[in-house]
Amino acid sequence: LSATGYGWLVLAFPLAGMLVTSFGWRVLPGRMPGWIATSAIFLAFLSSIGALVDLQDHAEDDRQLVDSAWTYAATADFHIDMAILVDPLSVFMCLVVSGVSFLIHLYSVAYMESDGGYARYFAYLNYFVFSMLLLVLAANFVILIIGWAFVGAASYLLISFWYRRATAVHAGIKAFVINVIGDIALVVAAFLILDHVGSLDFLPVFEQAGDAFSTNDGTLVAACLLILVGAFAKSAQLPLHTWLPDAMEGPTPVSALIHAATMVTAGVYLIARTHPLFELAPTAADIGAAIGCATLLFAGTVALAVTDLKRVIAYSTISQIGYMVMGVSIAAYGAGLFHLMTHAFFKALLLMGAGSVIGAMAGIQDMDRMGGFRRAMPFTFVTFTVGALALAGFPLMSGFFSKDEIIAFELNRGGFYAVLGVLGYVGAFLTAFYSFRMVFRVFYGDPVPEAAELEGGHIAHGEPLNPMTGEPEDTDVGFPGPEHHIAERERPMKGAMGTLAVLAIVGGYIAIPGVDNVLEKFLEPTFADSRFADTHPSTGAEWIGLVVGGVISIVGIGLAWWVYIREPGTAMRLRERFPRVHTFLVNKWYFDELYDALFVRPAATAGAFSRRVIETDFVQGTIVGGATGIVRVGTSFARAIQTGYLRAYALLLLLGVAGMTLYFLLNSS
C-alpha cells in the first residue's frame, strides 16, 4: 500500500466507525459502541504509521504526494478534486490527532458508560476525528474548508451533547456561529487566491504564489488576514475565543478532544500549511504573531481568576495555542508544531484528570468546593501533577523544551520578535502559577466531604445539577448518567492517562537542542521552501533560553506554593485589595458582554423591528395597499375576487388550456 493509500485508510476507518455506531445504536450492547469507535481510531493511527513508514521510503524531495479520488466540482476556472495530500506535515498531524484521540476514546469507553446517549456519543466522536483528519489531509482549499466546517459541526454536536441543558444548547450555537464566521473568511480567502493564482490546489498555489504576488501585495495580505480569521475562530484566539470556555459544557473527554488533539490545533496547522503565503505577506504574519502573543497573556490572566476547574484549563488552552500561533507565524514551524504535539499530550492528560476529579465530585466543577483529593485519588493526583509540570514548563518535562524552542526563535530574530519572546516568558510565568493553583487547590488542603467519602471507599452521589446554573438536571432522559467514573477504578481510564503521563514527560526528548532534532528533520520536506529554513538559534542560545525558562517555571510554581500552601489566605487578601482587577478577570475581560451589546442585541432588535414595523406597515400595509385610498381599491378588488371573478377566471383559464390542448391534439394528428 502506498502512502496515499494509507492516507485514504486513515479517513476510512473513523468514517466506518461513525456509520457503524450511528446505525447500529439499537443493536450494539453495553460498551460495544465504545470499543468499536476506539478500535476505528486505533486503526486510523496504525494507518498513519503506515503512511509514515512509506513516506520515509521516498526520496526527500519526493515526500509530497497527492492522490485524487474523484472530481468534486469543476466549472470554469473552479476545479476541485476530492484529493488528499500526504506529506510530512499531514502525516505528523494524523499521528498526533489519531494517537491522542485514540486515548481519549479509550478513556471515554469507561467514563461515559452510564450515559443515556452512549452510542450517539461515540458516533459523534468518530465523526469529529474523521473531520479533523480530513482537514489535515486535504489537498486543496475546498476540501480543507469541508473538513474545517465538519470539525465545527462535530464540535457543535458534542458541546450540546447534553441537549436538555439550556447552557449546553446555548454554548453549542455560539461555537457553531463563531466557527461559521471562520469558514466564511476562508471562503473569501480562497476566492482571492483562485482569482490571482488560478488554482485552489495547495502545491500549485504555493509554487506559483511567488510569481502571482509581490511581497506584501495588498490582496495577498488580505487573503492571509482572512486565513487568520479562520484560524483564530477555530483556535480560539482573540477576539474569536469566546466559544471555547463555553465549550466546556460538553462531557469532559470531549473537552479533551477539542482542546488537545483536534479542533483548536487546526488554526495552527492551517498557518503552517499555508506558510508560503504568509512568508510572502510578512505584515499578516506579524499581525498573527502579535495576536497570538496578546492572546497568550490575556488568557493567562483570566486563568488566574476563574474558579471553574474546566474553564481554567480552557483559558490555559487558549493561552498555549497563543504560543503555537506565535511560533508558526514567525516561521518557527518545527517549534510551533512541536509545542502542538506536547500540548496535546499534557492538555489531554489534564482534562482527563479533571474529568476524574469531577466524577469524584459527582459533577461539581467549582474549585472553591474542591480540596484534599491527594490521598483519595493517588493515581489522578500523580498524573495530573505530571501534566501540570509539563504545562508549567518544569525542567526536562515536554513543555519545557517545546515552549522555549518558540521563544528561542523569537529572541534569535530580534527586534519586534524579541519583544514577543520576552512577553512569552511573562506568559510562562503565569502558566506555571495557574497550573499549580489548580494542583494545590484541588489536591492539597483538607479533604472536602466528597474526598473524605472517597477515602472511605465510596464515590459521592449528589442530586445532578447543572454546574453552571445550579439548576437540577433533567434526569429522566438518562444523561449525564447516574454513575460517576474515576480513573482509580477504571482500567481504560487508567491506561489512557498513564500513557499520556509518560508522553508528557518524554515527549520533549525528540528535540533536545544540541542532542537531536527528530521532528524538525522529519518536517523538513514540507518547509524546505521556507526562506527562514536556515535561520535557527544556536545551541548555546537555546540552552540559555531553557535555563531562563526553567527558572521562571520554578519561580512560578514556588509562588503558587507560597500563595496557596504556605500562606493560604493570600489569594483572598489580594482579591479584597484589588476588587476591580478581580471582577474584571473573573468576567473574562467582559468579552461576552461586549459581543452581546455589539452583535446579539442589535440583531435581535433589527429582527423585532423588521417583524413589527417593516413587515406589517410597509410590506403588508403599503404594498398590499397602505394609504386609505389604495386600501379601498385593494379591498374592493379583493371582494370582487371573492365574489367569483377569480374563480371565473381560473375556470376560464383551465377551459382555455383544455381547449387549446384539444385543438393542438386534433391539429397535429
Partner: protein, 498 residues
Amino acid sequence: VTIHLSIVLFLPLATGLSGALMPRGTGRWAVLAGSLAVLAYVLVMLIDFEPGGGLQYVTDDGWISELGIRYSLGVDGLNLFMVTLTAIAWAACTFVAAFTEHDRPRLFFFNLALAETAVLGAFMAQDLALFIVFFDLMLVPFYFLIGGWGTGDRVRATTKFVIYTLSGSLLMMAAAIALGVLATPDGGNISFALADLRERSVPLGSQEWIVLLFALAFFVKAPLFPLHGWVPDTYRATSIPVLALLSGVLSKVGVYAFLRIVLPIMPDGAQHWQELFIILAVFSILYGSILAFSQDNIRLVLAYSSIAQLGFIVLGIFALEEKGAQGALFQMLNHGLVTVVLFLIVGVIALRASGSESLAELGGMAFRAPVLAGIFLVTALATLAMPGSGNFVGEILILFGTFENKLVYGLVASAGVVLAAVYMIRLYQGTMHGRAGPGVESREIDPVNLAAVAPLVAIVVALGLYPNFVVHRTERDTTQAIAEARQAGGAQEVSAIR
C-alpha cells in the same frame, strides 16, 4: 422528435383525470402511481442524458400557427435537474398525501396532478407562449389546493396569493406579447419559439421595460423582498405537502426562467438592471435571514429563510458570471430538495406537539426520536450550506461569481451565510433540543414520512459527496445562457473605461 416529454408532461394529468373518475378511495393511488411513473421516466432520462449535448428529447410541433406559437418541449442542462426536482418532490409529497385523509380526495388529487403537469410544462417549454400558458396554469390548482384544503384564514391567504401572482402573470403576459411583436423583423412572421427569439433582437429601450416586467412576475413567485407580502399568510394557511411543493418547486420556476428566457433573449436589458437586481437579492438575503431568526412559527422561519435562499440564487444569476450562474442553478436543485424535506418534517413535528408550530412551545423532541432528529439535523446543516453539502458548492460558486464582478455585494451577502447558521441551528435546537414543552410528545418519525423523506435525504448527502454529477451536466448550457448578457456587461465596462 420524440414523444417522451409529452408522456412525462401529460402523465400526471391523465392519472389525475382517471383518478377523478375512479371510486372515492382509489383515485389517490392512481395519482400516486402516476407521479411515481413520472419519476421513473425522468430517472431513466437522467441516466440517458448526454452531458453537453444541447437540447434533447425535443418535441416541436405547430400549435397556433397564426400567432407563431409552437408546442415545443425539450430538456437540456438548464432544466434537466429542474424536471428531476419536480418529479422527486411530487412523488414524495403525493406519497405523504396519499396516506393522509382529505375532504373531497378525488378533487384534491386531481389538483395535485394537474399542478405537476403545469410545473413540468413550465420547465420544459421551449416556446415563450407555451411557457406562459403553463406558468399561469400553475396558479389554478394551487389556488384550489390552498383555498380548498388549507387551514386557518385561507380566504385571506388565497386572495393575497392570487392578487400577487396574478398581477405578476398579467404583466409578464403583456411583456411576452410585446417581446414577440417587437422582435418580429420587418416582413417576417411572428414567433414565440425561444430559439427564434434568441436569434432576433429587440431594441435596448424596449428590452429594459420588458425585462423589468418579467422580473416582477418572477420575483413575486420567488419571492424576493419587497414582493413577498403574500408569503406569511399563504405559508400559514397551506397544508403541508402542498406547501412543500409551493416552497420547494414553484419558487424555482421564476428564477429558472431568468436563465431560460430573460438572459439569452434580452441580454442588454438584463445587464441594464443588474445592479438593481443584485441589490434586491442582497437585501432579500439579509432581510429574510433577520426575519427568519426572529420568527416563532416554524413555518415562517422556513418561509423567510426561503426568501434569503432565493436571494442567493438571484444574486448568482445576476452576477452574470459563469460560476455564479452555475451555482445558482445547482442551488435551485439543492434548495428545492431540502425545502421539501424540511416542510415534511414540520408536518411530523406538529403532529407530535398537539398541532403546535410555535418554537416557544416546542423542544426536546430528539430524545425518543433519534431518527427524526438525525434526518432533521442533516437537512438543517445542508440548508445552512455547510461545507460538504451540495448547497455549499452552490453557494460558494454563487459567491465566487459575485466576488468576481461585484466584490462588495458578495461580501455583504456572505453575512447571510452566518445568519443562516443562526436561524437554522435555532430552528433545530428549538424543536429537538432543550427541555420538552408540555404538549410535546417525543415519538419517532412514522414509516410513511420516513419513506418519503429518507430517499431525499440520501440524495442531499449524495450531492454533497459528488456535486460534479450535476455541475458537469449543467455547465455548458448555463454558460451559454449567460454568455451574451455577460458580454453585454463586458462591452459596457470597456466603453466606460474609454
